[in-house]
């Protein structure tokens, strides 16, 4: 595992600039120092920050200047003083991260400019976590338009880059828990969490954190945002990114190094250490996402944003995903055709086995029994949907057996046809022969297209 530690720290500068003015700010400062030692002990060779205080609009920006140097002043708390800095940035990792993000369909770019304004949160975090640049860093922005799918893919691209770099990485989010600042200046001694409701929710989050439940916090992200986060800021995205960047699991031990009010917000310095144990596997309430297919192409319709072909990034993704994922609940087999994206053939969740969409392509050759439905130029071809349906069911059988299950344990089928009028009758007849005696529930829908030139695909749920 390349990710050796995860953490979250607040970006508001008081623990750095004036900890002596408030006991809670000093406690956070002490928490930063404890986490700093924790990171050094972990053997981390790189600190990767996702900063909620670095907004981006055009995709995702990654700091890639080897030694950025400036005297920073916070735009709000400028009266607290200036922050001179000179950081050590791992530019090679930054470039790799940009590449892996691009391969996963994201719009990303490195920034390597003298004077680029590194945000207060990142400056505060790096000054306190690696005061003498003991551990090189990299910083990625928080895109204001990116929602869950895009943010998760950005997190997964961080793992891809970690695997490619071969480095041990600590990933962290610069964020507060509740984020309601006071809207008037306060005397430092009067600092408190903005409201009782914010405090109650912060305590819930701290309990999850102490139990190492990163993925559960990711799943609760929207609810947390609704309850204790100011709208229009950046959503409660960091845990989407953090969970995706740490393998989407709850298999961590959590530690709260410090928690205190920071000008009304909930400041928390926390860390997560991977462990074989955990509170349980994830339960996805929403889709998992491997590749971003959003509206990042609006300016160049019909053209890829990447220089690579469609197949190249997918192959690269599969390679890195195979290396990164060691989850025993994931099912992959060489006896079925390779997936066309970065997803497994099947996944066990609780008492059920979920299969990814299965088509008729043959393992190893990708040949399509019954023939493809169109040629390389998109011209329609005649094909045999009966043969394709038989091949689909045979592939499902192979996947189920690889998972320790069998065709007889199928409980639900969703069938996708690209031409209902032409193919339903033959497909329906073949289905009856192959699965009718087993009797799973079934839904058949017509769709416009499938990723490969096939006419039929099944989505299956089975007992393990």
């Amino acid at each position: 595992m390349n990710i050796v530690k995860a953490f979250l720290v607040p970006g508001i500068p008081h623990p750095l600039l004036c900890p002596e003015k408030n006991a809670g700010w000093q406690a956070l400062r002490d928490g930063f120092e404890a986490l700093s030692q924790d990171l050094q002990d972990s053997g981390a060779e790189l600190i990767l920050l996702y900063s909620t205080m670095w907004p981006s609009v055009i995709g995702h920006q990654i700091q890639a200047r080897p030694e950025p140097e400036w005297i920073h002043v916070d735009e709000l708390f400028h009266d607290l003083g200036s922050i001179p800095y000179r950081f050590k940035i791992d530019a090679d990792y930054a470039k790799t991260y940009k590449e892996t993000a691009t391969q996963r369909g994201l719009h990303a770019r490195c920034v390597d400019y003298h004077g680029f304004p590194i945000d207060t949160g990142s400056v505060t975090a790096l000054k306190l976590l690696t005061p003498n640049n003991e551990i090189p860093a990299c910083i990625v922005s928080s895109n204001v338009y990116a929602d869950r799918a895009e943010t998760m893919v950005l997190g997964k691209a961080a793992i891809d880059a970690a695997v490619k770099s071969g480095k041990k990485i600590a990933v962290g989010a610069v964020m507060t828990l509740s984020n309601r600042l006071f809207t008037d200046f306060i005397d430092p001694k009067d600092d408190r969490i903005h409201s009782a409701k914010d405090e109650e929710w912060n305590q819930k989050l701290l309990q999850f954190i102490e139990e190492g439940r990163i993925e559960d916090l990711s799943q609760l992200s929207r609810e947390i945002q609704r309850q204790i986060r100011v709208k229009k800021v950046v959503n409660f995205k960091p845990f989407w990114w953090l969970a995706a960047a740490t393998g989407q699991s709850n298999a961590f031990t959590g530690k709260v190094h410090a928690y205190a009010p920071l000008y009304g917000t909930g400041g928390a310095v926390c860390s997560f250490t991977p462990t074989p144990d955990g509170v349980g596997t994830k339960e996805f309430d929403e889709d998992d996402v491997e590749v971003f297919r959003g509206d990042r192409n609006v300016l160049s319709q019909g053209q890829s944003q990447n220089d690579t072909t469609e197949e190249e990034p997918v192959a690269a993704l599969k390679a890195t995903a195979d290396e990164a994922v060691r989850d025993p609940n994931v099912v992959k087999t060489s006896k079925a055709a390779a997936p066309v994206g970065a997803y497994p053939h099947a996944r066990r969740v609780g008492d059920l086995l979920y299969l990814s969409g299965v088509g008729p392509r043959q393992a190893g050759t990708n040949a399509i029994p019954g023939g493809p439905i169109r040629d390389e130029n998109g011209q329609a071809l005649d094909y045999d949907v009966t043969a394709q349906t038989h091949a689909v069911v045979e592939n499902i059988k192979q996947i189920l057996e690889a998972a320790g299950s069998s065709l007889e344990k199928v409980v639900d089928v969703t069938a996708f046809l690209v031409d209902m009028d032409r193919d339903f009758e033959a497909y329906n007849k073949a289905y009856a022969e192959l699965l009718g005696h087993i009797g799973p529930t079934r839904t058949t829908v017509e769709i416009r297209a499938l990723p490969t030139p096939i006419a039929v695909e099944f989505k299956v749920v089975a007992l393990p």
Binding site: I58, G115, L299
Partner: protein, 297 residues
Amino acid sequence: MSQKGAIVAGALAPHPPHLVYAENPPQNEPTAECGWEMLRWGYERMRKDLDQLDYDAIVVLSPHWQTYIGNHILGVPQFKSLSVDPIFPNLFRFHYEMDVDVELAEAIHSHAQADQLTTQMMRNPDFRVDYGTIVSCHLTNPQWDKPIVGISSCRATSYYSVEVMQNQARKLGEATRRAIEESGKRVVLLASNSLSHRHFVTEAEIPEDMSKEHIEHHGQYLWDMRIIEMMKKGKSTEILDIMPEFITQAISECDAGALTWMLSAMGLPDYPAEVYAYGTVIGTGNVVASWIPEAQP
């Protein structure tokens, strides 16, 4: 000064860094072939009008100096530094030098505080002036021969309703007007914001490729035209009445309060604005316009 001061012009002066990039001033490191001519030529026409006025200072409210606790005001006599746009660093890396009218800044601060508004002077000499302030000031006065008063945008918009924030901007405008009148100075106000503000989320390979430039959405365009028509008919009061709906529907950058502040400071002019240009920048709707009281019959 014993003479009563005055706001001699107010301008809607949007701050896309693309416009400075396309101008190729010596202060900016990146260079462009061309781009966004309609807006740049509009700024040229506005400069000609402003050059006819005798004024002492520029007061600008920028959405890109974002403060969550009240409005802050630049209070250091001079700044000299490098401004790098955090969103478009490939386009804007601008070496700036500016003088600040600290006396006028403090007067605005005092009047705002007297009106129970939350304001703070920014006294840190290491502070980096935001790119919105720099772009609007450069395009309005590329000679940089007038002192600036820079006001931040209070982003408690995230806490309070649009209506509350707009009312605060109106009060800040009134305080600004009184401070200017007391100062005896002749001042130009800049509202540094676009109208509709939904960006594209990708950038053309050549940023100044105008074949890629258009409004992000037709609905945004319709809203922009509606607001511009009201400007041209002198309907400032109606603009402020409809402002909350405009901000919500068109994701307008007017949420920063700059236009509301300026119109309020000018006493809600009922004469037509001079509209010099409308154009889009990476999908956002931008208008360059001025209100000049002395030009009215």
